[in-house]
């Protein structure tokens, strides 16, 4: 009997709460897809090193999954509590008919179980199919070749889904049982009689709160963008965040009070068509939903920022890796190390030997595999630090950039050495007069710092010679192969200035003679094995590409995973709220119809209401995100931000599809709910 009732209840609510089921199914399938990444790589031809990255990716996604399951858990508990509340009248009937609370709990238990099994089943099937699509994306991301297409099913991901969602549903069951055991019949009865009390807020107070929140938000925005340089320690970011959250809440709070007053003032608009009805509906709802509006706004904000930052990082990284690692291999050896730096006697002796000689000693004939080889040196002197290059500007710079290490020794290179590298890399070459120096750098913040000194023609002393800058700014350039713009600055000096005893690093850069990817990998593996016994460090293009692809994939997956989960959670909360509003307001729409309102007019009114509820938080979230992205951009500077636009467009696409999809689904379902039968 109970089983029959619960099945009937589900069937009944399936119509009204299709969106809830839809979200559960989506949640399960996304959970499955992101946890089955490992098995998707089966069909790829991956190298050992890519495999390592995938393992790391798997571990990261596993821990993110725990976080995601918390979010989904909250969403499910929120939604089921919400659906429970709407069924108070039904419970009251059961209770008056003499059903015990235990039986009602059992009824709910059965319902949750059925819903859980259903959503898990459908979600897993959907997830398995989606993961096939995903694997194409994975292959693409890792630049791998698809060797064979196999239909993959990950039993571990499936088990994980069952476990995590099982726990969530169990919690929901406990929660339901708890709230049933707590409820009183009299309260349940009163719950069905909605006494609509409209709290009218003091408009003057609202205006004051509105202005204060706008000011607070502006201040928070200012702090993270223009005032960015003052955020030198991590804890200082907490203040603008807290300020932003609080201001968002009060902004919605005051808007809810002002909306009515402002539009009411415009009589021509207020009394046009159903506008008065819409505005009243809105303001009666917004009073009670300020909190959820705030939550949704902030969740959307996080979604937008996470998605677009992740996509930016991924795009830039792939582009950067090709541009910033223009040679195949770079070998370096530290020269003239000292005891003070913590080296052993043996190492000190070894460091007096040049890199070519070391190679010969180790029996490695580099010429055999490597062409275009260039040898250059990097010099350092204790008398030339970052502080020294800034000269008289030091105090001014330090005020802005507190956190820099001003006593670090500067890298110095002979201009002819640099030109050799530049020629190999295809970069700009330079010439210097006897008394000139210049700086090459590509890390933007450091470029800014250095330009302050260069602009004022600060002279420096290198190995006893006074040099003045040739250019008023840093020139773009780098020496180390890398995936990012990390060259904080190398000082180029005329060749005769450099002294051999100040050589710090002896460097060899070149390209492999072999041209195919596979052959290069083979050569490199042999070479690196032999180098293992020496004090020579290596830096290769293959490594950099692998790492950047891996990191890019990592960031993309986590960004997508979190972004989508946040997006569907916030959209689902809104959708559920709107749907229940629609069924609460069924009677009102019936009345409008009875006094002769056109169906089109009613639909328009419904559309407007839902649209405002969906897009008001989104609007504020977008404004937040503009500043959030500006902030993220500064932090992600080393990755380069030239790829911002496409990732914002892609994020927009996600928003339009998922959020817009929920919006239309809500509108269509609401329309069906308010239809007169």
């Amino acid at each position: 009997m109970l089983f029959k009732i619960s099945i009937k209840n589900i069937k009944k609510s399936f119509k009204d709460y299709a969106i809830y089921f839809f979200t559960l199914i989506l949640g399960v399938s996304i959970f499955y897809v992101f946890n089955s990444i490992n098995s998707q790589t089966i069909m790829m031809d991956v190298t050992e090193r890519t495999d390592e990255i995938i393992r790391l990716l798997e571990q990261m996604l596993a821990s993110v999954s725990v976080f995601v399951s918390f979010i989904l858990g909250f969403l499910i508990i929120y939604a089921s509590r919400f659906l429970m509340k709407r069924r108070n009248k039904e419970f009251a009937i059961y209770l008056t008919l003499g059903m015990s609370k235990r039986k009602i709990s059992f009824l709910l238990f059965l319902e949750t179980l059925l819903i859980g099994l259903l959503s898990l089943g459908v979600g897993l099937v959907l997830g398995v199919f989606l993961s096939q699509l995903m694997s194409v994306f994975v292959v693409n991301l890792f630049d791998a070749d698809m060797t064979k297409f196999t239909f993959v099913f990950s039993s571990s991901a499936c088990l994980k889904c069952l476990l995590y969602f099982g726990i969530m549903y169990l919690l929901v069951m406990l929660f339901n049982t708890f709230s049933v055991s707590k409820c009183k019949l009299i309260d349940l009865y009163h719950a069905s009689k909605r006494s609509e009390k409209l709290k009218v807020k003091n408009p003057f107070l609202c205006i004051v709160i509105f202005i204060l929140s706008v000011m607070a938000l502006s201040y928070a925005y200012y702090t993270v963008t223009i005032g960015f340089s003052n955020l030198d320690t991590a804890d200082k970011i907490v203040k603008p965040i807290v300020l932003g959250v609080v201001a968002t809440f009060f902004l919605f709070f005051s808007i809810s009070g002002l909306l009515l007053k402002v539009i009411q003032g415009m009589k021509g608009i207020y009394y046009k068509g159903l506008n008065s009805f819409i505005v009243r509906q809105m303001s009666s709802k917004i009073n009670t939903t300020v909190f959820s509006m705030t939550t949704i706004c902030l969740m959307l904000f996080i979604t937008i920022c996470v998605l677009s930052s992740a996509l930016t990082i991924k795009n830039s990284m792939q582009n950067n890796a090709n541009a910033l690692a223009p040679a195949d291999i770079q070998l370096t050896k530290s020269m003239y190390v000292s005891k003070a730096e913590g080296y052993t006697e043996e190492e000190i002796t070894d460091s007096k030997v040049g890199i070519r000689e070391t190679l010969v000693q180790a029996g490695i004939d580099l010429e055999q595999d490597v062409k275009d080889m260039v040898e250059v040196g990097i010099y350092q002197t204790p008398t030339l630090t970052l502080r020294d290059t800034l000269g008289a500007r030091f105090e001014e710079v330090r005020k802005q950039y507190l956190f820099l290490r001003y006593d670090a020794k500067e890298d110095i290179m002979k201009v002819s050495d640099y030109n050799k590298i530049a020629q190999l890399y295809g970069l700009e070459e330079f010439t210097l007069k006897d008394d000139e120096y210049m700086v090459v750098a590509d890390f933007k913040s450091m470029v800014n710092v250095r330009n302050m000194g260069l602009l004022h023609h600060e002279e420096i002393e290198v190995f006893g010679k006074i040099l003045s800058p040739k250019y008023e700014e840093c020139k773009e350039g780098f020496v180390e192969l890398s995936a990012q713009h990390i060259n904080a600055g190398i000082i180029l000096v005329p060749d005769e200035v450099a002294r051999e005893e100040d050589l710090k690093i002896d460097m060899l850069v070149g390209n492999y003679k072999k041209s195919s990817k596979q052959e290069k990998i083979e050569v490199e593996e042999k070479l690196l094995k032999k180098l293992g016994n020496t004090n020579i460090f290596n830096n290769t293009k293959i490594d950099i590409l692998n790492a950047s692809v891996g990191l890019g994939a990592l960031v993309t997956f986590i960004g997508l995973y979190l972004g989508i989960i946040f997006l569907i959670s916030s959209a689902a909360i809104l959708a559920l709220k709107e749907l229940s509003e629609s069924s609460d307001n069924k009677e009102r729409y019936r009345m409008l119809r009875r006094i002769g309102t056109d169906e089109a007019m009613i639909e328009k009114a419904l559309f407007k209401q839902i649209a405002i509820f969906f897009f008001l938080p989104l609007f504020l979230a977008i404004i937040h995100s503009i500043f959030g992205m500006l902030f993220a951009n500064k932090i992600l500077e080393i990755y380069g931000n030239e790829q911002l636009l496409p990732s914002i467009l892609l994020t927009g696409l996600f928003l339009v599809f998922i959020y817009g999809g929920y919006f239309f689904l809500t509108y269509i379902c609401s329309k069906r709910i308010i239809k007169d039968n």
Binding site: S195, E196, K197, L198, K267, G268, Y271, K272, G273, L274, N275, S276, F277, R280, Q281, S284, R588, M591, L592, R593, R594, I595, G596, T597, D598, E599, A600, M601
Partner: protein, 255 residues
């Protein structure tokens, strides 16, 4: 006299062949401009079905209903909605006011869904509110008003658009006797001063006695019809009671 409503041989059946219920079984009558007609009958007599058919909320099985020259049984969709908002005014037993709007806004809504000029609204609303003695509750919400006030606001909403016909479904059903008397006096006033044509369904003889004509319905047919003529309300009330007694007493225990 100009005929506003003409009901011609209408029938309304519920159910299928095996269990057919004739809610309305061939009713014909007319209402002239400026009349105040009450339709009386017990529950199940078909009076509410009749009103629903006239108000286009329900459809007849056969027969025709004309409001002025329009056959409303032929109207569909948005024509129906337009007819309803432009030609008819409704007063319901449970008021049907929107609880989120003030009295003023509730009345204004009837005008705004017709696309009426906003500038003229205020004067019209004030005038009708004055006639219905609700000027002092215009800024209140339904939950702040008494039942009688709510029903007068609903009445104001019904007549503000100057409909050809005002349909009232048990308007005093949810009111106490004092509020009912006040409302009915307003109806009389609207009928005399604004020349509003009112068709009211009720099961209460006292309420019916304010009308100028009473039509009695039993088992979906017209049973009797009496006119007030030059009688006082008291005399008319007694006549109604006589018919009610004649009808036989399973209802009208309200007496």
């Amino acid at each position: 006299m100009e005929t506003i409503l003409k009901v011609e041989e209408i029938e309304k059946y519920y159910g299928h062949n095996s269990s057919l219920t004739k809610a309305i079984d061939g009713i014909t009558f007319t209402v002239d401009k400026g009349e105040f007609v009450a339709i009386m009958g017990s529950s199940g007599s078909g009076k509410t079905t009749l009103l629903n058919c006239i108000s286009t909320i329900d459809r007849v099985t056969s027969g025709h209903i004309y409001v002025k020259e329009t056959d409303i049984t032929k109207l569909r969709g948005n024509h129906l909605n337009r007819f309803r908002r432009e030609e008819l005014g409704f007063i319901f037993q449970d008021f049907n006011l929107l609880d989120t709007l003030t009295a003023y806004e509730n009345i204004a809504l009837a005008l705004s869904i017709q696309g009426a000029n906003v500038k003229e609204m205020d004067a019209k609303i004030k005038e009708v509110a004055g006639q219905l003695a609700i000027l002092d509750v215009l800024e209140k919400y339904p939950y702040q008003m008494s039942g009688g006030q709510k029903q007068r606001v609903a009445s104001a909403r019904a007549i503000i658009t100057e409909p050809k016909l005002v349909l009232a479904d048990e308007p005093t059903g949810a009111l106490d006797s004092k509020a009912a008397r006040m409302l009915l006096e307003r109806f009389e006033y609207l009928n005399e001063k604004r020349k509003a044509t009112i068709l009211m369904v009720t099961h209460d003889a006292f309420t019916a006695s304010y009308a100028t004509r009473v039509i009695f319905i039993k088992d979906g047919k017209i049973f009797n019809e009496i006119f007030k003529g030059n009688d006082t309300r008291k005399e008319f009330f007694n006549k109604i009671i006589d018919v009610v007694t004649l009808l036989g007493g399973d209802l009208f225990d309200a007496l």
